[in-house]
Amino acid sequence: MTASPKAEAAPPMVVVGAGPAGVRAAQTLLRHGVRPVIIDEAPLPGGQIYRQSPAPRGSARQRYGFEHKRAAAIHAAGARLREQADYRARTAVWNAAPGRLDLVRDGELDSLPYARLLIATGATDRVLPFPGWVLPGVFSLGGAQIALKGQHCLLGPRIVFAGTGPLLYLVAYQYARAGGQVQAVLDSAPLSRQAGALPALMNQPGMLAKGLYYLGWLRARGVPMHHSASLAAALGAARVEGVRARIGGAERTIACDALAVGHGLRSETQLADLLDCAFGFDAAQRAWLPQRDADGRSSVVGVYLAGDGAGIGGAIQAELSGERGALAMLADSGIDIDRARLRRLERRQAALSRFRQGLDRAFPLPSVDRDCDDSLIVCRCEEIRAGELRAAAAQYAIDDLNRLKALTRIGMGLCQGRMCQGGAAELLADCRGIPLSAIGRLRSQAPIKPMPLSTLGEARP
């Protein structure tokens, strides 16, 4: 696979996403003499978790906490890719067909054929509706983290963290360390779940220790932290002024200027869907995910999946699955790979999987409040309320999410269901009394994210 003219003319191997999975995948390809094309929306490598600010302030330690060494390693590997591979920053995939990606960069279209493709598109926050969630001042946990890491901004000054998951404590810690006034951390998971998950979490004692450190640090500084605390509403007229929560059976109101909500993460699966990869329902993540074998092969020949875009596994698992996916791409192309390395990856992935199962157990994903009021906005782009959803579902006996979309407009707005699909699916399944797995998922349509109409016209035959 080196420099013969014929090989150069053949379509390249392509990696979409330059987070931990994509960077490790591309690096692995390079190490085997294959020069990949890397496509990433951000200006700099790192993905969401190790997002790099174009003009960083403070130390990496301040921005990335305990993970600063991992962040620095990914950034350094990413920087080498920029020199050695065909690295296309600020470039988005807006459409795809078998063997071809449609790209857009600064309003310019391009078409990229691929021989093999690794999809490492990462994740976004899983957003669920609750009363007041559309008020200004309510952020997703990831949004709050980006404000801090990417823009050096503290939301608040008084901020409440609510929801669940390990990130909840991490971001609260990062805010408190950076001078934010953390009013409370409200974790919907019961403490007993976290205690029960300890054996599984012991699979990664280092990671467990970090989590416990954040908790201890917050507690030592008097930050109120509550378990089994469910967020009842964000309060406020023109913007958020407080939150109402049910804590241990009692309702409490906590004043704040910002609320950051973590309902878990959801994989960005549109590209895999556009390429017709088979999907399966994942009960722990309450979501449909592209199916893959242990090496990361999707159901479509030549398409591989790695990282959080194929199911939430965390940043370290993403690095491992990225490397392993690249090894599969190489092996499938007839290139020799190091089998011992593959077995080491397998072992580390297995341990991380057990840890992940512990996390899933410790922080079960919250759902929408099934008794939520009919006035609750479920789809904020199209301003569709729970009552409209329930009425249409009953009138037309809807048990398919695409049907709900057709009849109510849910998921037809700017976000194309990326934000509202989870909540709408939970509510539909609940009001029809059928399992979440039985109502299907929204079909992906190009463009993957909104793009200017006139840009479409730039394409030349």
Partner: protein
């Protein structure tokens, strides 16, 4: 498994099938509506949503005029107006030659009283300031309009159900037989339906269904490409088309502009995808007609699966070979507006009345009678 009986079985619960089912039930005829997927989820549910008479072949205008009356009565018929609004339909001319064609069309269809109004460039600028300068003129049909296809077909299907029709969704027919002069249809899941008459309203799959009965009809399948923008401030209140075709657009109440033009391609599993060339052409054509669209974002594109006959007319009529089999498909991209009238005509046809004007133009045997043009 028990056999379901009805006087009429309709294959395909798109707009033609569901409106026929409703009309049959209103006449008291027992009806079963058979749909492979969900009612109104194919071309009937994902089309552009233009409710347009202007520009149709003369022979279709009888149906179009009859349908115009039905559209006005939708709330009493099906319980919703499906967002139908008589906004007018404006067909633009990009050259004097095209404007001459619009004028000739107006003169040709004068007897139908569509109220067509020819506008020159100055009229266009005054009445539709959002249009790009340089458009030579247009023809306005004030009584035409637009509606929401996603709501209309399911509403027809459910109205038919309320009127006593039986709707079988997720019911793909595997084979057909005859039994004592009746049709016996067997579904993939072994459900069986026995009926005296069958209406083939299977849309893009109509020729396949016709083939089961030995009718070979020259249907071509295409995949109209459409897209929708983010919501914009009010730009244009008429539905737009262009003489010569290739671009159509309308702004919905929420402000989004829905538009289409060109064709996509098939995907496995009876699905389709917009065509890259069609999208590129839309990206160029749309700002050339509505300059505000140059900075608008596209949020979604899609395509439907539609059957076309060479003369752009559907087949509406009895099978040349099989008694009591009626075909109604191949609307060639123009079925949405006329379908409610087609439903009524089909119901009458099944009951022995022929109310279809210029029926030979819609006949299933029109290709065997003379060579195709």
């Amino acid at each position: 498994m028990t056999v379901l009986h009805a006087d009429v079985a309709i294959i395909g619960a798109g707009l033609a099938g569901t409106s026929a089912a409703l009309a049959l039930r209103r006449a008291g005829v027992s009806t079963i509506l058979i749909e492979r997927g969900l009612c109104g989820a194919r071309a009937s549910g994902v089309n552009f949503g233009g409710v347009r008479r202007q520009g149709r072949n003369m022979e279709q205008l009888y149906l179009a005029q009859r349908a115009q009356g039905i559209w006005a009565r939708l709330p009493e018929l099906i319980g919703t107006d499906a967002e139908y609004v008589r906004t007018g339909h404006l067909k633009l001319a990009r050259s004097q030659e095209d404007l001459d064609k619009l004028i000739a069309y107006r003169d040709k269809v004068r007897d139908f009283e569509l109220g067509l109004e020819i506008l020159d460039a100055a009229d266009l600028r005054r009445r539709f300031p959002a249009l790009a300068p340089g458009i030579v003129g247009g023809s306005l049909c004030p009584g035409d309009g637009q509606a929401n296809p996603r709501l209309l077909s399911p509403a027809f299907a459910h109205a038919a159900q309320r009127a006593g029709a039986r709707l079988l969704e997720h019911c793909a027919i595997a084979h057909v037989d005859t039994q004592a002069g009746d049709f016996l249809l067997t579904a993939v899941d072994n459900r069986r339906i026995r009926a005296g008459t069958v209406i083939n309203a299977a849309g893009a799959w109509g020729a396949v269904v016709a083939g089961w009965f030995g009718d070979d009809l020259p249907l071509q399948i295409k995949y109209p490409t459409m897209l929708v923008t983010e919501p914009l401030t009010p730009q244009i209140d008429v539905s737009l088309g262009v003489e010569g075709g290739g671009f159509y657009a309308r702004q919905v109440a929420r402000g989004n502009i829905v538009m289409g033009g060109g064709y996509g391609h098939a995907l496995p599993g009876d699905r389709s995808r917009p065509g890259p060339a069609a999208l590129a052409e839309l990206g160029r054509a749309a700002p050339a007609v509505l300059p505000a669209l140059a900075s608008a974002s596209v949020i979604r594109c899609w395509s439907g699966i539609e059957g076309y006959f060479p003369d752009k007319n559907p087949v509406i009529g009895f099978s040349p070979h099989t008694p009591r089999l009626v075909h109604a498909f191949g609307f060639s991209g123009g079925g949405f507006q006329i379908a409610p009238a087609v439903g009524e005509v089909l119901a009458e046809m099944v009951q022995g009345e022929n109310t279809l004007m210029m029926a030979e133009r819609f006949s299933a045997s029109r290709w065997s009678a003379r060579p195709t043009q």
